[in-house]
Symmetry: none
Subunit: 155 residues, 2 copies
DNA sequence: TTCAAGGTGGGGAAAAGTGGGAAAAAGTGG
DNA sequence: CCACTTTTTCCCACTTTTCCCCACCTTGAA
């Protein structure tokens, strides 16, 4: 399932369109008919979630649905659980790919990530993470010293 | 599985292509049909990871997948675990072998390792380590004195 | 010295990425 | 319900990159 790997930088145009790298597109087009650029039939869709760290996450439906099942278990009446539901769905959007393989990101999403012109898309296996390039660079530099400690703790 | 042993020096051309030594290629081509240079059918793939010490690591899929299973356990919402996910995947790339047994390394990867023309590939059993030749030489010279102490502690 | 295998380089076709005009759709107000 | 404005999306054209394929060079073995 999925298997997005690699980092690419692309431009977001005036219309807020961001290209999903062809390599990644192929990953979730295998379940559809056409592997090429011209995608006939039903156009794929991605779920876009604002992340706490100032990035955006892109999930393909099958992966997001997995998470959604957890969310459905939350009570409508337990205050904490209800709050969480509200918070998550307030951060979530759906984005359809156009026929050139791009998604249109809303102003809201773009400003959350601080994206104006350029965006880096990181393939993180099961999802994609979208960063404003300088913001990502800053994050990585500031936390470079913590890497080996974290990595050896978890992996 | 794997069993890469030996050190080789090769050139990286203008297109950033690096030859995987035939000897190593055979190791992970055994699971495919053709042991020779002309590889028909699906081309093998390697995972390339930027290393903290200024080198690059090449993993064959079966080995990397092992690590990936650990990464899948990390939370999307725990700040530390999320940071680690970002850091790792920002350092990772996938590289397909072409029909001559080469991988194309991105500018990003090459500059991380300081590679312009030449590269040394060290077989380290389960992975390969790629160094800019002088950088490797310097590392080894500067740390020559620490060898016996480290070795006797761990081996 | 001839052959085979491994290694190196490059031209050119195909694919991917980028941007913009124009049609279509959706939203807004009278 | 209609007219107007704004947004979306489809399509096309241009540019850049990738990668496929072939040719050549070197080395070591027969």
């Amino acid at each position: 399932m999925a298997g997005f790997i690699g980092k690419e930088q692309h431009t977001v145009d005036d219309k807020g369109r961001l290209l999903i790298p062809a390599r990644f597109r192929r990953k979730f087009l295998q379940q559809h008919e056409d592997p090429g650029v011209g995608l006939q039939g039903r156009l794929p869709v991605l779920y876009v979630l604002k992340s706490d760290d100032g990035s955006l996450e892109l999930y393909e439906p099958s992966v997001w649905n997995e998470k959604e099942r957890q969310l459905l278990k939350l009570s409508d009446f337990n205050p904490d659980e209800r709050l969480l539901t509200t918070m998550i769905y307030a951060r979530l959007e759906q984005a359809d790919l156009d026929r050139s393989g791009r998604i249109a990101l809303s102003r809201d999403m773009l400003s959350h990530a601080g994206i104006e012109k350029d965006a880096v898309i990181i393939g993180a296996n099961v999802k994609m993470i979208v960063w404003e390039p300088l913001r990502l660079q800053r994050l990585l530099e500031e936390n470079a010293g913590r890497f080996s400690r974290l990595a050896s703790r978890y992996v």
